[in-house]
């Protein structure tokens, strides 16, 4: 309900309406709309993961990519092609995978499984709902297919943590940096020590 209150105020903006109507297809269709938010994005760099306005040749649109922290892979797990080859036989029926036993899927697990996000032919990539391959550094495009309003808020800097400069280049965290993609609910933390009570201060 709270979202709706915020969204109503935004209804007049084209951007707000676009995303509300087509949240699921945001990454595919909303590329041009994302251009409106380019001011939030840092300068285009030569090295490292690409960001800034880049051409998505498969969809023939421009998408805005963001400077993000490296994906939080478990040690030694990436690249996945170390074990998975492009010619491996693929069982496309959802089933429990023996090897990755540490992964507990608690993320709409009744309707989704590994190959809804991970690509069977190229394991080092993820794929969007329309089959386009994306890097792990662009995984927010994948998450935004279902979580449209959250992606919008993330792009605007409202959702998620940003570090760096308030006036210039900043680093965004990937959705997966805070929310495990397999079990996204934020885990409780141990709080730091409470302050001393006044009577205890000497």
């Amino acid at each position: 309900m709270f979202f709706r209150v915020g969204s109503l105020a935004r209804n007049r903006s084209m951007w707000g309406r676009m995303t509300r109507m087509r949240a699921v297809r945001l990454a595919a269709a909303g590329g041009w709309a994302a251009l409106l938010l380019t001011a939030a994005c840092g300068p285009v760099q030569e090295k490292g993961p690409r960001f800034g306005n880049v051409v998505d040749s498969a969809a023939k649109t421009t998408v805005t990519l963001f400077p993000v922290a490296p994906p939080p892979f478990s040690d030694g797990i990436f690249p996945c092609s170390q074990c998975h080859g492009p010619t491996d036989k693929v069982n496309r029926t959802p089933h429990v995978v023996d090897f990755h036993s540490e992964i507990v899927l608690h993320h709409d697990e009744k309707n989704r499984w590994c190959l809804d996000c991970h690509d069977a032919r190229n394991r080092d990539k993820l794929h969007l709902a329309d089959g386009r391959l994306i890097d792990f550094t662009e995984s927010y495009r994948l998450c935004g297919q279902c979580h449209g309003p959250t992606l919008r808020n993330w792009k605007a800097g409202e959702h998620g943590k940003r570090t760096g400069s308030w006036s210039g280049a900043k680093q965004y965290l990937l959705c997966a940096s805070c929310h495990s993609p397999h079990s996204p609910h934020f885990k409780p933390l141990k709080p730091k020590a409470p302050p001393l009570r006044q009577e205890a201060i000497r």
């Binding site: 915020g6 105020a9 800097g157 020590a193 302050p195």
Partner: protein
């Protein structure tokens, strides 16, 4: 030593009935101190003299400012056994700082409290915290009378609770600066309410005037372990304080005037803390104020905080 201390001091013409006791005493002290400096004394004595006859921070000429900062750098570097930098970075034109905190995301982990202590050289003993995290009942909503700052759970967030970190709200209409009898605290052009610790007389009127409990008094000599001192300091911000002065959040003036986010923004594990330029329509802070439900603490007091609580969810 700058020129102004060695130059003859302006002495007012004696009134017809002669000098009062107070005037004579002050002039005597001045003469003594001036004699001491011209006689060639130690650097510490010079600094002590300068501190005694210092001008208000905002009246310093660039030359005097340079001397003042150099003196402080020397003093702190000797005191803490490492090179300490003290700057007086001016406000950036066209910038008015604003802060937003998402009450629906804060989990009360107090990472911000201790991040702030380290960044801003708060006293470890006696303990000073610029940020107080209040725990309140979700069912009850914001009710400061039933807020608990001393909660100590195994994990947070505790069921049915929400958390509200409170620090200086950097009011546009700050009650604290109005009551200061010596103008040791004021609002800068970029909206940061600052304190000159060398001008503060420790009367604590500002603490009484602040409705947010944001100001803290150094009742004892502040103690910071030498290896934990943050050597990048700002005159109006995180330089080491002395006993008997008031201190509070400065939006990390030593960071934000160089374009960086405040420390609490950087250490928050849930990304509940947002910071930016209120005058920039593209900033995240403007997006939040324009699109989210914003809550202003004690709005009815017309302090006009530049600290906005909001509900992101």
């Amino acid at each position: 030593m700058s020129d102004h201390t060695a130059a003859p001091l302006p002495v007012p013409a004696p009134p017809a009935e002669g000098y009062s006791r107070r005037e004579a005493l002050v002039m005597g002290l001045f003469a003594l101190a001036a004699a001491a400096t011209t006689a060639g004394c130690s650097a510490a004595d010079k600094l002590a003299y300068e501190e005694f006859v210092q001008k208000h921070f905002r009246d310093l000429t660039p030359e005097e400012m340079k001397d003042r900062l150099a003196g402080l750098e020397k003093k702190y570097s000797e005191q803490y056994g490492k090179s300490v930098k003290v700057s007086a970075t001016p406000p950036i034109p066209g910038v008015l700082f604003g802060y937003a905190l998402d009450l629906s995301r804060c989990i009360g982990c107090r990472r911000c409290v201790y991040g702030c202590v380290e960044e801003n050289n708060q006293s470890r003993n006696p303990q000073t915290h610029w940020i107080t995290v209040l725990e309140m009942d979700k069912e009850e909503g914001v009710n400061l009378q039933n807020a608990d700052a001393f909660y100590d759970h195994e994990t947070v967030p505790a069921p049915g609770k929400f958390y509200m970190p409170v620090a200086c709200q950097h009011c546009e209409n700050p009650p604290c600066t109005k009551v200061c009898p010596v103008e040791a605290t004021w609002k800068e052009k970029d909206g940061i309410v600052v304190i000159d610790y060398d001008w503060c007389i420790g009367c604590r009127c500002c603490i009484a005037a602040c409705p947010y409990g944001a100001r803290h008094f150094n009742w004892g000599k502040p103690v910071i372990p030498k290896d934990e001192l943050n050597p990048v300091t700002e005159y109006l911000g995180n330089r080491p304080r002395q006993r008997g002065v008031v201190e509070k959040c400065s939006f990390c003036i030593q960071r934000v005037r160089k374009g960086l986010y405040p420390k609490c923004v950087e250490v928050c594990p849930v990304g509940a803390r947002k910071f930016g330029n209120l005058l920039d329509p593209e900033s995240e802070i403007r997006y939040i104020i324009e699109n989210k439900r914003v809550y202003i603490l004690k709005e009815e007091l017309n302090t006009q905080p530049k600290f906005f609580y909001y509900y992101g969810l």
